[in-house]
């Protein structure tokens, strides 16, 4: 077993708690001083940072919701001035506004360290060649993994997304030993290999780190068998940092959440803390971030915390693999999609009503999104051309607004809602495909 930062990865629980308290107090002081949103809430509750005397006192602090980030778009949660921010990432938000995350130089460096821990945890070393097929750009996936591979000293192939044939060729020619991408894209690569006459021994792949999408053990088995690798799960979210908040170790029974950087809690639907082992919503407080520290961020991901010691030696608790959410967020090709975003986009298009249904499917191992939209009672034109233009406009605006390619189908007025007490807005067929 190799570690990137052995001392901290295998720190005693007591020492870790001491470190967490110190970092939590520092974080609360910082946001009280620099983020009006937090200062006002703390003041209204009669709290000052010095009231945080133990880790349990975290329950005095307010939760942060995704809507709070939206209300303070774009930089309202930044705790430092723009001159200290060296990178900004964004993911799709619940409406037209993206969710923004800002990083200082130290944040980027710490993120790379955490990612290097994750890579080491997967057995990757400086002798490895890591093929990164997460998208590079505003999405945190590509660059997040990339900086970790460089910090570790392995060779990184910044392939980004798309052009599957070329990716497979490069993985073979460059002797990639590790693959990082979404689980559905891993299957897509595997299919391409088998359909194009590649043999298993054409590749040197040993391990894959897959995330940004919920996936179950059936899919893991499929990936491991078709690529002849060990497939590990990675967890992260833009608001908190990006990929690498938690990482599955080779024991494959949970993901270590790096508790020296993130303080995790599990809460019930009323926000009350639950003990380890009980399932609820994951709430994360960043305790080692400068650019955009967040207090008790509601991830809406359902999981539980595992406190039993792990055979890998790491002392940081694990979260169970995330399979469900408390809200209606969909993850399609690694992109977060909220029905409210679709509504927001459609409301701005003349000729259609913000009534819709999202049909998510998986074709050739790639997620597809079809948005069925209802036309207004008043037909926008009497020619096919008029309707095709409308369809094209909806498709373009949705693809831009969701940061995700999608198809649009025009439906007659009322066809999606007729006879329904509450319209079913989502039809996810992916579960049936694996």
């Amino acid at each position: 077993m190799s570690y990137w930062q052995h001392d901290i990865e295998c720190i005693s629980r007591d020492a870790l708690k001491e470190l967490q308290l110190e970092k939590l107090r520092k974080t609360v002081s910082k946001v009280y001083e620099s983020v009006p949103f937090y200062r006002e809430i703390l003041k209204s509750r009669g709290l000052v940072p010095q009231d945080i005397r133990s880790l349990d006192d975290i329950s005095l602090l307010p939760f942060t919701e995704k809507d709070d980030l939206r209300d303070n778009y774009p930089f309202g949660f930044f705790a430092v001035g723009q001159e200290s921010i060296i990178r900004i990432h964004a993911s799709s938000g619940t409406t037209g506004k993206p969710t923004v995350s800002g990083y200082t130089a130290r944040d980027i460096s710490r993120w790379a360290d955490l990612m290097a821990r994750n890579l080491s945890c997967a057995g990757i070393s400086r002798f490895s060649v890591v093929h990164v097929a997460y998208g590079y750009g505003l999405f945190t996936g590509g660059l997040g993994v990339h900086y970790g591979v460089e910090k570790l000293g392995a060779s990184v192939i910044p392939a980004s997304g798309g052009n599957t044939a070329r990716q497979v060729q490069l993985m073979r020619d460059f002797h990639a030993t590790a693959l990082c991408c979404t689980p559905s894209y891993a299957l897509n690569l595997a299919d391409h290999m088998s359909q194009n006459g590649y043999a298993a021994d054409d590749f040197k792949l040993k391990v894959g780190i897959f995330g940004a999408e919920p996936w179950a053990d059936g899919m893991r088995k499929h990936i491991e068998e078709s690529l002849n690798i060990k497939a590990l799960d990675i967890y992260g979210l833009t608001e908190i940092m990006g990929p690498g908040v938690a990482m599955e170790c080779p024991e494959q029974n949970g993901l270590h959440i790096w508790e020296d950087a993130f303080y995790p809690e599990i809460v019930d639907e009323n926000g009350n803390p639950l003990p380890d082992g009980e399932e609820g919503e994951l709430v994360i407080t960043t305790i080692d971030k400068e650019g955009m520290p967040l207090l008790r961020y509601r991830t809406h991901d359902i999981t539980s915390l595992v406190s039993e010691p792990c055979a890998c030696g790491r002392t940081h608790r694990k979260i169970k693999r995330v399979k469900m959410r408390t809200d209606d967020m969909l993850v399609i090709r690694g992109v977060n999609v909220y029905p409210s975003q679709v509504e927001f986009v459609l409301a701005q298009i003349e000729g259609i009503r913000p009534q819709f249904r999202l049909v998510v499917d998986r074709v050739d191992n790639l997620d597809t999104l079809l948005v069925e939209v209802e036309l207004d009672n008043k037909l926008i034109g009497d020619t096919v051309k008029d309707l095709e233009r409308l369809q094209g406009e909806a498709k373009r605006k949705l693809s831009e607004g969701l940061l995700l390619r999608c198809d649009v189908k025009l439906m007659p007025t009322g066809s999606l809602t007729r006879g329904e007490v509450k319209a079913k807005r989502i039809m996810d067929l992916r579960d049936k495909r694996n």
Partner: protein, 143 residues
């Protein structure tokens, strides 16, 4: 009086056209002309009816997506080449046709064409100058 055409959006699925035609039949609305434009996923039914405003209310009330547009019904001799003459006339005057369809023949020597263009005034003026017979609403409804 302008001749108004009712256009209704129909999904390209079995039974969607029949639900519209049944509705019109039940409400006593007679389709004087009928044409359907379609793509793989949807279609537009276009028809001339005697009381277009009433028909529009009825179909919208029933939950259809619909609209009314002014079209030009013309009468041409039912013989080879007569339609070409009209089309050439429009083309040489840069009038763009959105669509057209022929809708009925009375068994005599005339053919009837419904024509839609976004340059209505120019087309009507041209037809009047060149002696192309544009039918009035009254004439259309009596066919």
């Amino acid at each position: 009086m302008d001749v108004k055409q009712l256009s209704v959006f129909i999904e390209n699925t079995p039974g969607s056209l029949v639900s519209l035609t049944r509705l019109l039949g039940d409400k006593g609305i007679d389709l004087i002309s009928l044409s359907v434009a379609d793509t793989a996923s949807f279609g537009i039914l276009r028809g001339i009816v005697e009381e277009p405003e009433k028909a529009l209310d009825i179909v919208i009330e029933a939950g259809f997506t619909a609209r009314l547009d002014t079209v030009i019904p013309i009468q041409v001799p039912d013989e080879p080449g007569s339609l070409s003459k009209v089309l050439e006339l429009l083309g040489s005057n840069n009038i763009v046709i959105e669509y057209l369809y022929s809708f009925m023949r009375n068994g005599g020597g005339e053919a009837y064409i419904i024509l839609r263009t976004k340059q209505m005034e120019e087309a009507l003026k041209l037809f009047s100058e060149k002696g192309v017979h544009v039918l009035s609403a009254k004439e259309v409804y009596s066919l």
